[in-house]
Every structure is written in C-alpha cells, then in structure tokens.
C-alpha cells in the first residue's frame, strides 16, 4: 500500500479527469443516436428512422449479470429500438464505483441503489427526482409497494427511487430442537427467546449456542431497538441511543453475551452449526433459505422460519434495493419506462426466479409461489412490519460508531448506560456537523 492512501484519494480526482475526457465521445454517440437523429433525419429527408432510432440504456446492477440479463432481454423484445446494456458490479466494489461515477458525472442511466446508500447519494445530488414520472405512470405509484420499501426511496421529501426488491430478517429455527425445550412453534416474545436460549444451551452443553448476534451489523442492533419501542434518530435529527428503550435493547442483547448464549464474532459456520444443532436458531435474510436447503439436506422438515420474537412489537429491517435514474443520464424518459417495467409484475416474478430476491411489488405476493411456501410467506409476514434504517446521509458513520460502542460493551466490558451516553454525545456531534 505504498502511498496508496494518498494516491487512492487523489486517484478519484484523476479518474474523474480521465473519465471526463472519455465522456465526450460517448455523449456524442448517444446524442447521435437519439436527440440528433431527429434533426439529421429532417435534414436528409430520411424521416423514417427518426421515430424509433436506437437508444442504448446503460444499467448498473449489483451482483451477477445472469440474474438481470434475462429480464433486460424481455424488455428489449417488447421495446424494439432500445438496447439495454447491463453491467453487473460486485457488491463489494459497488460503493467505490458509484463514488467515481459521481465524481466523473458520467455513469449509467439506471442504477440499482442499495437502500442504505440512497441518502448519501441523494444528498450529493446524484439521483434524479422521479416525481414527474410517477405522476404520469400509475405503475410507479407508491401504493403498489411495501410501505417500508417506499420509505427507502424518499430523501428530504423527494422521491429518488422506485422499490426493486426487498429483504428483511426473520428467525430461522430448528423446530425439533425447539420442541424439546417446549417451543415447538418457536419463541414468540423476547422472554420466550431468552428462556428457550438458556434451556437450549443448558441442554446442549459445551460448544452449544442458542442464536447468533451479528454485532458487526448495526441493522441487527437496530431491529432489537425498534422492538423495544425505541426509534433511533428522531425527526429533529436527535439521536436516541441513550434513551431507556434503546438501552433496554442493548442490555437484552448483552445478557446473551454474558450468559454465553451466542458465539462471539462470526467464526461459526452457520450452515454447519445449524445442521449439527450447535446453533439451533439464527436471524437472517431470505438469501439463507436456499443455502440451508442445499447444504443441510439432512435436516429437511426439521427447521422452519418465523417472524422475529416481539417485545413491544416485532419490527424487522427493511432492506433491499431501489432503482434510480442517475442525474447525468441522457435518457431519463426511457430510463423511467425501463424502471416501470422492472417494477411490474412480469419482471418482479422473473427476478425472483433468477435471483431469489423478494418482490417489492405487493401484488406479486399473491402469486402461488409465495402463498404456498411457508418459508417465504414467513418473510412476507415479516415484511409488513419492516422499517428501513434512518434515511440520513451520515448513517454509515453513525452505524459504525454504534457498532464500535456495542463492541466496547460486549468485549470491552463497558457499562451499558454510560457507554450509550458517550455514544449519543458522539453521534449528536456527527449529526450537527
């Protein structure tokens, strides 16, 4: 990493310069394809081509391209003259890549935004206000989607995205092992979860845990805070980390560490531990369903999924992705049309087929493949009470601070209330900047 710290930061700028140079010709070719074709068409009297033309729509997706390409093909078939250029970006590299796109003001037309990234990029003005398109197109109306998903598309009252897929967290549990300790249908409340956990570990003995706590993930902490009735940041941008509700949630989670009911760190292989019963419960998202089915065929029928245990409520995290139009797109009209298709019934069902991602479109959930599968419908149930993380641009910084504080409590042994007071002060500082 020789001088990389310096170089990488500065490289952003140099890249923006380079990309700036490169952008000229792609602008021209795009303009030549759509805008200019009308003008040149009339001039050369070959007006036949001016109506259709051929537009290339650049689309950035995270993940693997084979999940999106079939849907892009569907769109191309329905809309002759439009070519959809799908570029798949690995999730790990996506944030850096989006930064460079913002720096160079040159990027795709349609962009998949992880819901937690919306505030930071919206604040930077990189995402187009979609209100005029929603006005025109009933398929983009907010009522069509889960409430929590719609909340992720808003920043300072402006709609900058359309929900694309959703995910939430629910409780995976071994029904056979839970039945042994008296909870055949899984724990329904916090008290039951704690009681079941204690019994499971007492019964299992050394090397047995009850449930995972992903302490590196603020989302995990947020869910328990919401369930305790806490909000995280109020509408006046004041942090609520040292209020009784939030502290209650941290105390509850910390008690699992104190009694050694959870594995420390993320060193346990979830699939293996779920199979051999050393981790009979875990909280995770829909992407784990396929993995458990494939890697743990031995326990088929002995595990299932339910909504999270409730305290005051059983709220969970609303995650997933939205589709946005990049501010510097040359084809916002076509981009909006493409997004409308992507959020429609056909594309949503197809995307579930190719990627197992859950549809954001409520209507899609009436399809038999969601209603007949108890594993999926548990997530459908959970989605109704799922809420997104606070839509503020500083969220990443806030959540890192909060995760660090939780580490101080569980590993460093700090007192919960005083650590939360400290954290609240720190976050108030971040938010008032």
């Amino acid at each position: 990493m020789k001088k990389k710290g310096i170089i990488t930061v500065a490289a952003l700028l140099s890249i923006s310069l380079l990309a700036g140079c490169g952008s000229n010709d792609s602008n021209n070719s795009n303009a030549g394809a759509s805008g200019d074709s009308g003008a040149s068409g009339t001039a050369s009297a070959s007006s036949g081509t001016s109506g259709g033309g051929s537009t290339t729509l650049k689309v950035w997706f995270m993940g693997t391209s084979d999940s999106v390409e079939p849907i892009a093909k569907m769109y191309e078939e329905k809309n002759p003259g439009v070519k959809v250029d799908v570029q798949a970006i690995p999730w790990d590299a996506a944030h850096d890549k989006l930064l460079t796109a913002v720096a160079s003001k040159e990027g795709p037309d349609v962009i998949q935004m992880g819901t937690t990234w919306i505030p930071e990029f919206a604040e930077a003005g990189a995402l187009l206000d979609l209100a005029p398109y929603i006005e025109k197109d009933p398929a983009l109306k907010a009522d069509n989607f889960f409430d929590g998903a719609i909340q992720t598309t808003q920043f300072n009252g402006v709609t900058v995205g359309i929900p694309w897929y959703v995910e939430t967290r629910a409780l995976f549990y071994r029904s056979d092992l839970l039945a042994d300790v008296g909870y055949p249908e899984g724990p329904k409340t916090w008290d039951e979860l704690k009681d079941a956990a204690e019994k499971l570990v007492a019964k299992g003995g050394k090397g047995h845990y009850a449930v995972n706590i992903d302490a590196k993930d603020q989302n995990y902490l947020s869910m328990f805070a919401w369930q305790a009735g806490s909000d995280i940041i109020d509408s006046n941008r004041q942090p609520l980390f040292n209020k009784p509700e939030y502290v209650e949630a941290m105390n509850y989670l910390n008690s699992f560490y104190k009694e050694k009911l959870v594995p420390v760190g993320s060193e346990l292989d979830t699939f293996a531990a779920f199979k051999d019963g050393t981790l009979p419960m875990f909280i995770s998202g829909p992407w784990m369903i396929q993995g458990v089915k494939e890697k743990d065929p031995e326990i088929e029928g002995k595990w299932t999924i339910k909504t999270l245990p409730a305290n005051k409520n059983n709220k969970s995290l609303m995650g997933g992705s939205d589709l946005s139009i990049f501010k510097y797109s040359k084809h916002p009209e076509e981009a909006a049309k493409f997004i409308s298709f992507m959020s429609g019934m056909d594309a949503q069902l197809k995307y579930y087929e190719t990627s197992n991602s859950l549809p954001a479109l409520k209507e899609a959930w009436n399809d038999s493949r969601f209603t007949s599968d108890p594993l999926i419908s548990a997530f459908g149930e959970q989605l109704k009470v799922a809420v997104p993380t606070p839509m503020i641009a500083e969220w990443e910084e806030v959540s890192q601070a909060s995760v660090a504080s939780f580490e101080q409590i569980t590993i460093g042994g700090a007192d919960v209330q005083s650590e939360m007071d400290k954290l609240n002060g720190k976050i108030a500082g971040i938010l008032s900047k």
């Binding site: 001088k3 310096i6 500065a10 930064l99 930077a124 003005g125 420390v264 990443e396 910084e397 890192q400």
Partner: protein, 299 residues
C-alpha cells in the same frame, strides 16, 4: 536561454530515455501527492465530489481533529507496534532462512526456496480465507493443535491483544519469501576468496558468518530493512481482509483508518490529511535510515 538550449541538445537522448519514468512518476505520484495535500485542507466529501463549488477550505482543522481522534491515535500506536515487532523479525528471519538455504543446492533446498517464496505470490484474499480457518476459534487448526497439549482455546482474531500478534504472524509468513530471495542473491554475490583466505587463517564457521557474511550482506540488509519498514508503516491488507480493524480497533492501522474515512465514510478531506501524516512519517523514517546507514563501513 542559449545555455539551456545547448544543454538540451547535448543531453537530448538521456532526457528522452528517462522521460517515460518521469512522466509516469509525475502523473501517478507527484500530482496525486500535491492534490492530496490540497484536499487535506478542505472539507471535501461526497457532495463536494459531485459539485466542486461545495468544497470549502478549512485550514488546519482536519489535522487538529485528527490528533484529537482516539481512533487515529490508536492506529498510530498499533502501527508502531506492527513496525517495532514485525520489521526486525522479517529481517532476521529472512536472513536466517537465506543462510540455511544457501548451504546446499540439492533438490530439497530448491524445493524449500519455492516453499518459502510461495506466500508472497499468493493472493491476499485466498490467504485470508485459509488463515481465517486456521485462526477460527471453533474449527481452527491452531486451536486443535493447542488442544493436544491441553492448552485452552484461543480467540486468535477476537481477543484485542492476541489479534495484533495473529496479524503480525500472518504478515511475517507472507513477507519472508521475497526478502529471502534478495538475501540469497546477495549471498551468492560474496566472492569465495574471502572464505578461503579466512579458512587459511583458521576461521571457524561462526566467525566466517560473523565477520564476512553478515557485513558483506550490509547493503542487502539495508535495502530489505528500508522496504520492509515502509511496507509495515503502511500495514493495510492484513487487517483489511482479516479483522477490518477490530476488535475494539486493536488491529486498526493508519492506512486502514485512512481507507475507512475516505471510502467508507466519504470524508475525503479528513482522509487526505491522515494520509499526509502517514506520508511524513514514512519520509522521516527513511531519512533516519539513510543517516544511520552513512555511518556504516563500506567494503
């Protein structure tokens, strides 16, 4: 002016030969360093990146905040530990391995050259996966081996004080190969005559090592020390792939701190000032090395 023109026509070809390097260095090293210096005095963030008119100069406040930031101070402390423990170990061990491998030329020695060199050409991500399993406290090989001797399980990467040691061990394993090759090459450059002369005078193996081999490896040692020192001051990959700086920032290095602030939190100005502090530390360390080196005897 005339002088200059004459100088140019006289040295035209040498200038042209070094031009590619000069241009590359300027574009990819000198200019970025200057840009970073400028950025370090601003509050540049993502909004500033999207619209340069939002960037404001903030004077030295980034630097002042930096030295008030407990995480940054911790990262300096951690980096110092990495350097103080890691660098001498790398130099001594890679020299020792090179000396041992230099005793023979059979297939066994050649195989071991390869064995020691392999870690330095292995992709860090693959290394992270394998070492992650070795260090895993539930399934890891290390804890399994310890269990033979009745030693309790260790939290290799989760215990704040042990995690640093674990990362140093990994980095050491990765760094030995390349430096060993440098020492091997230098060893082969030592003329046999010196040893023969010493043998005639009755020098034993240990004395030959002490008075001929080690002094004549002086330049190689200097080179290895300086590159290793610079590399370890910029300790980044190992904590980045293994621990992300945790637990409790116990493995946070300066370079990782800069990365986190720049690319996770979008505080480019703050990150740039951090990288400048790192830059200055490296310059100072290098100057000190050169100063010490001058006092040494040349052969």
């Amino acid at each position: 002016m005339k002088e200059l023109a004459r100088g140019w026509s006289k040295y035209k070809y040498p200038y042209m030969f070094i031009a590619p390097v000069i241009i590359l260095l300027t574009v990819f090293s000198v200019v970025p360093i200057i840009v970073a210096l400028i950025i370090s005095f601003t509050d540049m963030d993502l909004i500033g990146l999207a619209d340069y008119s939002h960037i404001k100069g903030v004077g030295f406040s980034n630097y002042i905040d930096l030295f008030k930031d407990p995480v940054f101070l911790k990262s300096i402390y951690n980096t110092a530990i990495y350097v103080v423990i890691g660098v001498p170990l790398v130099v001594i061990l890679s020299m020792a391995i090179a000396l041992l491998l230099n005793y023979g030329t059979g297939w066994l020695f050649k195989t071991f050259r390869l064995v020691y060199y392999l870690p330095s050409i292995t992709n860090i991500v693959a290394v992270a996966v394998v070492w992650g399993y070795l260090y895993n406290s539930n399934y890891g090989l290390f804890n399994y081996v310890l269990s033979w001797f009745g030693i309790p399980e260790q939290q290799w990467l989760l215990d704040p004080s042990l995690a640093k040691v674990s990362l140093i061990l990994l980095a050491l394993w990765k760094a030995l190969g390349l430096n060993m090759i440098i020492f091997l090459a230098a060893l082969q450059g030592i003329p046999r005559d010196y040893y023969e002369a010493a043998e005639l005078d009755g020098a034993t193996g240990w004395k030959k090592l002490r008075y001929i081999t080690v002094p004549l490896l002086g330049f190689a040692t200097f080179f290895v020390t300086i590159t290793t020192l610079i590399g370890w001051i910029q300790f980044f990959e190992e904590p980045f792939v293994m621990t992300k700086g945790g637990p409790l920032n116990a493995t946070m290095s300066m370079a990782l701190f800069i990365y986190n602030n720049g690319f996770q939190l979008n505080n480019f100005g703050y990150a740039a000032s951090g990288s400048f502090v790192l830059f200055i530390i490296i310059i100072i360390a290098t100057i000190v090395q050169f100063a010490v080196r001058k006092k040494e005897v040349e052969y």
